[in-house]
């Protein structure tokens, strides 16, 4: 009887050890897979805000460096273009990201997918005090930018441009505190305009 009890105990212990080993291995595998999945592709989104007006004839020199001066002057007839803010974020795929703009405006951008390795499909929403002004889905090529304009501000109008490209960096969808993990390269810049 004692021998039988001993064999049973040994068998149960062996089974327990075996199951524990299997569970640990599975957990480790799942953890590694989850980590790999979390580090998804990222998109570099750049948002700039320009105040366009006809008060004086001047163009912010920094716009030329951004390649925006030529674009804006091809699109509009304003006399003055002043860079008010500029921000770039690396945002993970499918994760909404927020850009605070002047005049109580807010831009929400979500990268939907990367098309043909160099185009980015975005969902862009421009809000003013929680009211949506524009809600658009678009695809931007490497050279492509979209300008959302029309909001009156300080005697002129605000032009908000959005550009995006696939980022080589892979970011985690969520920061440790649960907030969306975005990498901000550049925030509100001081505006210094130069006379043309």
């Amino acid at each position: 009887m004692t021998e039988i009890q001993s064999k049973t105990t040994t068998l149960l212990a062996t089974c327990f050890v075996l199951l524990a080993t299997l569970a640990t291995a599975e957990e480790a595998e799942v953890g590694a897979g989850a980590k790999a999945a979390e580090e998804g592709p990222a998109v570099q989104v750049e948002v700039g805000t320009v105040l366009a007006s006809n008060k004086v004839k001047r163009v912010d020199q920094r716009l030329a460096g951004q390649g925006m001066q030529a674009r804006l002057t091809r699109l509009f007839r304003y006399q003055s273009y002043e860079l008010v803010s500029q921000e770039a974020q690396q945002i993970p795929m499918g994760q909404p990201s927020r850009f605070d703009l002047p005049a109580d405006l807010e831009l929400r951008v979500r990268a939907e997918r990367i098309v043909d390795s160099n185009q980015v499909e975005l969902r862009v929403e421009l809000l003013e005090k929680e009211v949506t002004m524009v809600d658009t889905a678009l695809t931007l090529g490497q050279q492509g930018r979209v300008v959302l304009g029309g909001r009156n501000h300080q005697g002129g109008v605000l032009l908000v441009w959005v550009g995006a490209r696939p980022s080589r960096a892979r970011v985690q969808p969520h920061a440790p505190d649960g907030s969306p993990a975005t990498h901000r390269d550049q925030a509100l810049m001081p505006a210094t305009a130069v006379q043309e």
Binding site: V124, E130, G144
Partner: protein, 263 residues
């Protein structure tokens, strides 16, 4: 696509028979080429004239029938030997009978004259006129379906060829969040006014227009070389879209401020 290729396709483009990439290429070329734009405008003018000429005149047809009825009821005072019936010219606009040989051969008919027609020569029974009427009816139906087919858009021909202005009411929007499906239809989200345009421009001779793909429902879509706008919804105000000639940048303009677009 060059001018020659475009001009070869202008008629079918105008008739709405081009689809997909070919349609967009023609539209883009026309948007950027003054000569081809003028050619297209000429097509539109000619088409309008033809359409107007073929347009049936209900009042005239009614008056004809009244004339026919009165003649049927009235005692026949003359028998011309071929069983004809009489239609008073006073109630018969000559224009719509141009296809009838017996009338067309008498261009100097004046009001009050009586015109005798063989029964088989009654214009409404002539194959040519039936064909023309059928063609006019088909063209009208086609145009009606083509222009007004997208009931959600609620836009007419003028919205395609004139500065685009879409007005919607101010309201809260579900917003951009993971739970908000980008493919949500406008019917599911009545707060947002859907826009579906075929062609958008700012001013009649404004900057290159953004060509809009009607295949995508529930929103305005546009494509430039490096920007494709699949849908645009706005909650209030006016909206316009255009792109720079290089196709690198597209503008979505909302609000009542003058866009001061480059022409």
């Amino acid at each position: 696509m060059n001018c020659l290729e475009t001009s070869e396709r202008l008629e079918t483009f105008h008739d709405g028979e081009l689809i997909g990439r070919e349609m967009r290429e023609v539209a883009l070329h026309v948007a950027q080429c003054a000569a081809c734009e003028a050619l297209l405008a000429e097509w539109e003018r000619l088409h309008g004239l033809i359409h107007k000429a073929l347009e049936p005149k209900p009042d005239a047809l009614a008056s004809i029938w009244e004339g026919v009825e009165s003649e049927i009821e009235a005692p026949r005072d003359t028998d011309h030997g071929w069983g004809g019936f009489r239609i008073a010219a006073a109630t018969t606009p000559l224009g719509i009978f141009r296809g009838g040989s017996s009338v067309a051969d008498k261009p100097d008919v004046e009001d009050g004259d009586e015109i005798w027609l063989r029964p088989e020569q009654v214009p409404a029974h002539r194959p040519g006129n039936v064909l023309r009427a059928g063609m006019a009816l088909a063209a009208s139906l086609f145009l009606a379906v083509f222009l007004l087919g997208d009931e959600d858009a609620g836009l007419s021909e003028s919205a395609r060829t004139t500065p685009t202005t879409v007005v919607a009411s101010r309201s809260q929007n579900p917003g951009l969040n993971p739970a908000h499906n980008s493919a949500q239809s406008p019917k599911q989200n009545p707060a947002v006014q859907p826009v579906s345009l075929a062609q958008v421009r700012v001013g009649k001779s404004g900057p290159p227009r953004v060509i809009v793909d009607r295949e995508v429902g529930g929103g305005a879509t546009a494509s430039a070389q490096h920007v494709q706008i699949h849908s645009v919804k706005q909650s209030h105000g006016e909206m316009a879209m255009w792109a720079e000639p290089t196709g690198n940048t597209a503008v979505i303009w909302v609000g009542e401020a003058d866009p001061q677009a480059r022409r």
